[in-house]
């Protein structure tokens, strides 16, 4: 156990946890926008898979990672448009339609992968960027300042989206659409337009999250995300619908996962309880969900389609 507390081991654990949390963070921040405006999107995992495949295939064909991210973002936007149409215009039951999108994304990404690529082949990923001077600091240098642009991007999104949600007009519109759409409507806010915007933005981030995953792992295969999208949705609840909270949730999940791995590697967690330990990240997230629901109220209009006149 003392091995775990050696600086090198702690830094590896924390750094791995941060990288592991990255794709969750993109998807969860995206979902936060949608949920804040009142739309639940359970199809995040399917959209991540489609975005991941799009990025993977683009990289295989062109070798251009930035183009790959763009393709993933566009795929996310298109899926977001479809989801918004189903949730806002058709006013369908959001939980069910979300699952439909998940199944579609799962099956379609797998089908495209089998037809267009056929077998898992590696792709290059984004290089590690060492921020000059800062990355040379002891401990903190490797921990915080030696990641890839994708990881930095996810964490930079947090203050940016917090600012947008809390300090801008569009953020006000989003929040009011989720809290009291009727009142917002009377003040001239187009609920439909706001929700279309947030769902599309959220899906775009989900697509980028999938692309982040595939470029981080440098491979694609069937069901690459293994349910990450659903955890991302849970993280939104955990984070009390605030990007900073979501970031803490993603970090908690990632760090618990990497700590469990480190303890297993060191033999601190014996093989007999190995499977129990695997559950820990999910268990802790569930416990946190229970606490979060008690602490914070969700957006009042979440999952409720809005119709003028009641």
């Amino acid at each position: 156990m003392s091995e775990f507390f050696k600086i090198a081991a702690l830094v590896t654990t924390a750094s791995t946890g941060i990288r592991y949390a990255t794709s969750y963070l993109y998807a969860a921040i995206g979902e936060t926008f949608g949920q804040r405006s009142g739309v639940l999107n359970l199809g995040v995992d399917g959209i991540m898979l489609l975005g991941a495949f799009g990025a993977y295939y683009t990289t295989r064909q062109t070798g251009n990672l930035w183009l790959a991210m763009l393709v993933a973002a566009v795929i996310g936007l298109i899926m977001g448009l479809a989801m918004a149409f189903v949730s806002v215009t058709l006013q369908a039951e959001q939980g069910i339609s979300g699952i439909g999108f998940y199944l579609f994304g799962l099956g379609m990404s797998d089908l495209l992968f089998q037809k267009l690529v056929g077998t898992p082949l590696p792709i290059p990923g984004f290089p590690q960027i060492r921020i000059p001077w800062l990355s040379e600091l002891p401990v903190v240098g490797q921990l915080l300042f030696s990641h890839s642009i994708i990881v930095y991007g996810a964490f930079l999104l947090v203050p940016i989206t917090t600012y947008v949600l809390n300090r801008t007009t569009i953020g006000l519109k989003i929040r009011s659409a989720g809290e009291n759409p009727a009142a917002a409507d009377t003040l001239g806010v187009s609920i439909a337009r706001v929700r279309y915007g947030t769902v599309m933005f959220g899906s775009m981030l989900a697509g980028i999250g999938g692309a982040a995953l595939t470029t981080e792992l440098r491979i694609f295969q069937s069901n690459l995300t293994a349910g990450q999208g659903f955890i991302a949705v849970a993280l939104v609840y955990f984070g009390a619908w605030r990007p900073v909270g979501v970031m803490y949730g993603a970090l908690l999940y990632g760090l618990v996962a990497s700590t469990v791995l480190q303890l297993k590697t060191l033999g601190v967690i014996p093989r007999s309880v190995s499977d129990l330990a695997t559950m820990l990240p999910a268990v802790i997230t569930i416990l946190a969900l229970v606490v979060a629901v008690q602490r914070e109220r969700q957006p009042a209009a979440l999952t409720k389609p809005y119709q003028r006149g009641g």
Binding site: A8, A9, T12, T13, T16, R19, Y20, S23, V86, L90, Q91, A92, E93, I96, S97, I99, G100, F101, Y102, L103, F104, L106, G107, M108, D110, L111, F113, Q114, G118, T119, P120, L121, P122, G125, L213, E216, L217, R218, I219, Q221, S222, N223, L224, A226, Q228, F230, A257, S258, L261, Q262, K264, T265, L266, G267, R271, S274, D275, A277, T278, M279
Partner: protein
């Protein structure tokens, strides 16, 4: 309007999922979609169906059987002689059971349930179709049924050989293993690997990590990073999630040993060798038995001796002559019985 739109969405989702997956999925939980493929055939071909828990291109468990079936098809004369159909990604046992019944109903000659979790379903289904032959793996139990074959891999043998090689090649004296769940085929392989490495170098340090998932690629990558952080310079692992670990190994210049299928394509520079399952050795025998009138009641093992397991060296990695000779010597020792890898306690 709202009810109509709900119905429209449900129909859209089901149709989309069905079109994308090829079978109509009747699951109500968010389970993995199943896919189905067909190779066309003309008159009276021998019809084989395969049901498996992961994708046919997973470079691991499922692909090993699919590749074997393709090899048999070529060997026996192509699509007119052997028709192969499959349902992959059937991780949920209920989905798989439905597919097994489906194939049996359609009169397939041989239905292969390629997954140890399918056992209890097969035990229920097989008696209903006495004229259909079923094969179940990896397992050794035929339930005393006359139309069920069982097959398994003595993966501890190839694991032992690769463990010996890994210990010989490791400069840091630390090896890393990324396993899924400590059961079945994965456990046999890992136990063999550990035994082989320890036999080659008693002072070797082996970090064994069962991540708890067969499919979580990101977790496997994190596990590999953790083990490399602890000094491992040679890694191995089992199940389809290892692609994540191989990616990390490639980046950090760490060597990789694969199992179940030839994994050289994942990282042409650092994959040393893979234990390949040549299931056709067993399926060949099963087909002959079926054609001769025996539909089950026997169990088979692929190992180094019968050629069902082979060590495929990666031509892209320059293996030293010494290590290769060591590997060949170990293989010969296992075949003639002078080297005993750890065998599982009781047949599964």
């Amino acid at each position: 309007m709202k009810r109509l739109s709900v119905i429209l969405v449900l129909v859209f989702a089901l149709v989309a999922a069905a079109c994308a997956s090829g079978t109509s999925s009747t699951t109500t939980t968010a389970s993995t979609a199943t896919t189905e493929g067909t190779t066309q055939a003309a008159a009276e071909p021998f019809k084989i169906a395969m049901i498996a828990p992961s994708a046919i291109n997973d470079l691991a468990f499922t692909q090993s059987m699919y590749d074997a079936l393709l090899a048999i098809q070529t060997e026996m004369g192509g699509e007119s002689a052997v028709q192969i159909d499959y349902t992959d990604n059937a991780f949920v046992v209920d989905d798989a059971a439905a597919a097994v019944r489906d194939y049996a109903d359609q009169g397939y000659d041989l239905v292969i349930a390629h997954g140890s979790q399918y056992g209890s379903s097969l035990q229920e289904i097989a008696p209903d179709y006495p004229n259909t032959s079923f094969a179940w793996g990896t397992a050794g139990d035929t339930f005393g049924l006359s139309n069920v074959f069982a097959y398994e891999a003595a993966s501890e043998e190839g694991g032992y050989v690769e463990g010996v090689m890994a210990a010989a090649l490791s400069k840091s004296g630390v090896l890393g293993v990324i396993g899924p769940i400590e059961v079945g085929d994965a456990k046999r392989y890992v136990d063999g690997f550990v035994a082989g490495a320890t036999a080659q170098n008693p002072a070797i340090d082996i970090k064994v990590n069962y991540t708890g998932s067969f499919s979580d690629v990101a977790l496997a990558a994190a596990a590999a990073t953790t083990e490399i952080g602890q000094g491992a310079d040679v890694l191995t692992g089992s199940a389809q999630m290892v692609t994540g670990a191989v990616g990390v190994a490639q980046q950090d210049g760490v060597l990789w040993f694969g199992t179940q299928a030839d994994q050289a394509q994942l990282a042409p520079d650092i994959v040393v060798a893979s234990q390949v399952y040549e299931w056709q050795v067993v399926v060949d025998q099963i087909i002959s038995l079926i054609k001769g009138g025996t539909l089950g009641g026997q169990s088979f093992v692929i190992d180094l001796a019968n050629g069902g397991e082979t060590i495929a060296y990666n031509p892209g990695y320059s293996l030293s002559e010494d290590t290769k000779a060591l590997a060949e010597k170990t293989i010969a020792g296992i075949i003639d019985g002078s080297i005993e890898p750890p065998r599982p306690a009781a047949s599964s």
